[in-house]
């Protein structure tokens, strides 16, 4: 049987065991924050931040910068240059050169007197984002939602009561978010009903999310108990064993 490629052992210890120990110790280090800020947590925090920042930079370089800018820009660059036709390059690569130049303008931050250059790409990105999100929001968050809300409320059985609750909840919640009128009289009652609807919704959301978080905690505890502890000879049984 051929040997699998790559390092499988370091100082005679299998790499998967080393990985398991690193994960377990870092998990404990992060949980030590429950006791208070301490050097072990600080170490884990700085390691986490450093690794994630470096990993993020590597991802951007390998998955965005090189394949989406450098490679397409350099492809077909030599021939027009040799033919003494740089204008052809500019025209054919305009869709890459313009965003590339905008990206470079960000580095204006590093040069005193040219820091204003970095405002251009930021303005471009912000304008683009706002412009794209306005019609998208009107379509998906307003019109489509309204279409789904306008349902028959009679007879009350067979979904009519649910639809009634929905329309009352939406109108009253809209009243709560009405800012340019004092919340007095009818508005006070409408907004009060609206906040009740909001809080009931938040309560349901809170419970739902807490359940998901508890399952994450259980996953970590199971990892420590049933995967890490067996490596030091403590077998507690449970999932993952036998």
């Amino acid at each position: 049987m051929p040997e699998p490629s790559g390092i499988t052992e370091i100082l005679g210890i299998p790499t998967d065991i080393i990985g398991l120990w690193v994960a377990a110790l870092l998990t404990l280090a992060i949980y030590s924050f429950l006791y208070g800020d301490n050097p072990v947590y600080k170490f884990a925090e700085h390691l986490f931040v450093g690794v994630s920042a470096a990993y993020g930079a590597a991802i951007v370089y390998h998955q965005a910068l090189v394949p989406k800018l450098v490679q397409p820009l350099s492809a077909g660059l030599i021939q027009p240059l040799l033919a003494g036709n740089p204008a052809a390059i500019v025209w054919s690569k305009a869709t890459l050169l313009i965003p590339g130049m905008l990206g470079l303008l960000i580095f204006g931050r590093f040069f005193r007197g040219y820091q204003w250059l970095s405002r251009w790409p930021i303005a471009f990105v912000m304008g683009l984002g706002a412009g794209l999100s306005i019609p998208r929001s009107i379509q998906s968050l307003i019109l489509e939602q309204m279409h789904g809300t306008m349902q028959p409320v009679w007879p009350l059985t067979g979904g009519g009561f649910d639809n009634l609750l929905l329309i009352v909840g939406v109108v009253c919640t809209l009243a709560y978010f009405y800012f340019s009128l004092p919340h007095r009289g009818v508005m006070r009652w409408l907004s009060r009903i609206g906040i009740w609807f909001l809080m009931i919704g938040f309560g349901a959301g809170f419970g739902n999310t807490v359940m998901a978080r508890i399952s994450l905690l259980i996953g970590r505890i199971e990892f420590l108990l049933y995967e890490w502890l067996p490596t030091i000879g403590i077998h507690l049984g449970g999932p993952g064993i036998g």
């Binding site: 800020d37 329309i167 009128l181 809170f206």
Partner: protein, 423 residues
């Protein structure tokens, strides 16, 4: 001479000769090449549904005699495409494995180029069991004796894009109506001051700054984990500007850890401008606005550490948040800081409500800029939004009434009204 031969001999000679003729005729018939009919009446047109101008519709007719080819079965079609320029070759772009299907969409094209299209019918020997699944199967089937018959070429043709999608006319009308309302509100706002109802979370901003100033501790401002294009981040940056102007006046330092490089750049500009406007440009400390990491939980871990070490007197969490919201708010709560949060992430609002002193919910976050600055332009926008909400509520009530009365009014009227809200 033949007539002299006896009849019996003639019979003996005729029978083998006839058999020989039949045999030769059959062999000759076998040597005749089998004809493989090609797809007919190929037609290529622009896809009217494709607004980006990236697709062409290719239609053809199944070869009339495709089923009559002896020893072969029609395995499917290969669609070839190539640019309409000198020397350009057509290359297989798509496989249509169903022989009964005679239409396909060619995608990934460019509206700036014109294309030539051709369709080939692939005949697979009957004894071969393989199928024309994808382009990789073509070479295998050819090796097994599959034969292709190509249609005449069609083109040149370019996919055509469209700037306007008629299906979204209602979105355009709604956007224009909303813009008109906001512009009118701005026009009328110049005539007098507009009222904004008190928002407790924003009323507490001054208290938070005052507390930080009295305690001599910094203010921590987290503007969410979303990018600069997110409306919540833009709202958070507006609030940061107002907050920084006030902290600059009191010379209270403000710490802004960022998880997006563009947000970092914009926030440095905003805070710097705020310090200049407050008349304290020398108090601006750019190193207090710094990049941490774009990793969600790496960022949360770092901000938690900052809260525990720097002990800010007030924490602001404004913008878009995800699963880290409770981790941040809970740690801040533990340090005893006054906490004001604001987000439009409805899944995270419950956590901020439970762990923070004040929470700006959804649209309150967008209203914060107008509320804090009292800028007539921003306040007028808020008024415009409010009028929009009244119209929406009215439309909802009317729509629900129509839907309820549809049995009496007739379904057509109700459908016509409701379809206006559907894309």
């Amino acid at each position: 001479m033949i007539s002299r031969l006896p009849l019996k001999t003639i019979r003996r000679l005729l029978l083998p000769t006839a058999a020989l003729c039949l045999l030769l005729g059959s062999a000759r018939a076998q040597q005749q090449p089998v004809e493989f009919p090609a797809p007919e009446r190929l037609a290529v047109s622009d896809d009217p549904e494709d607004l980006a101008g990236r697709q062409l519709v290719v239609k053809w007719h199944k070869p009339a005699a495709a089923d009559a080819v002896t020893g072969y079965r029609l395995g499917g079609y290969l669609v070839y495409v190539g640019e309409s320029r000198e020397g350009a070759e057509l290359s297989p772009a798509q496989v249509v494995p169903d022989p009964q299907k005679t239409e396909t969409l060619l995608s990934g094209l460019l509206p700036s180029k014109s294309y030539i299209v051709q369709v080939g019918a692939l005949y697979i020997p009957e004894q071969v069991t393989g199928e024309l699944i994808d382009l990789n199967a073509v070479a295998y089937l050819r090796n097994q004796g599959a034969v292709e018959a190509k249609s005449a070429r069609s083109g040149p043709i370019s996919p055509v894009g469209a700037l306007f999608d008629p299906k979204k006319t209602n979105v355009l009308i709604a956007t224009m109506v909303y813009c008109a309302i906001v512009l009118l509100a701005i026009y009328f706002a110049q005539r007098g001051e507009m009222y904004i109802r008190p928002i407790p979370g924003l009323e507490a901003v001054n208290d938070a700054i005052g507390r930080a100033t009295e305690m001599g501790r910094p203010i921590l401002y987290v503007s969410g984990l979303s990018g600069i294009t997110d409306i919540a981040t833009i709202a958070a940056m507006l609030i940061l500007g107002h907050l920084a102007k006030r902290t600059a006046a009191y010379e209270t330092s403000i710490i802004v850890p960022c998880n997006d490089p563009l947000v970092l750049t914009a926030e440095r500009e905003i805070v710097h401008q705020a310090y200049i406007e407050a008349g304290k440009p020398e108090a601006y400390e750019p190193e207090n606005i710094f990049y941490v990491t774009d990793s969600q939980f790496g960022y949360a871990a770092a901000v938690d550490g900052i809260m525990m070490r720097e002990r800010p007197a007030a924490n602001f969490f404004m913008g878009m948040f995800y699963a880290e919201s409770l981790i941040l708010a809970e740690t801040g709560n533990r340090t005893g800081a006054i906490q004001i949060a604001g987000t439009d992430a409805d899944t995270q609002l419950p956590f901020f409500i439970t762990a923070c002193d004040y929470t700006l919910m959804g649209e309150e976050l967008y209203a914060a800029g107008a509320y804090l600055s009292r800028n007539p332009l921003l306040v007028a926008q808020l008024k415009g939004q409010d009028i929009g909400k009244v119209l929406l509520a009215a439309a909802l009530v009317v729509g629900t009434a129509l839907a309820t009365l549809s049995a009496y009014l007739g379904p057509d009227i109700v459908k016509a009204f409701l379809s206006w809200f559907q894309i």
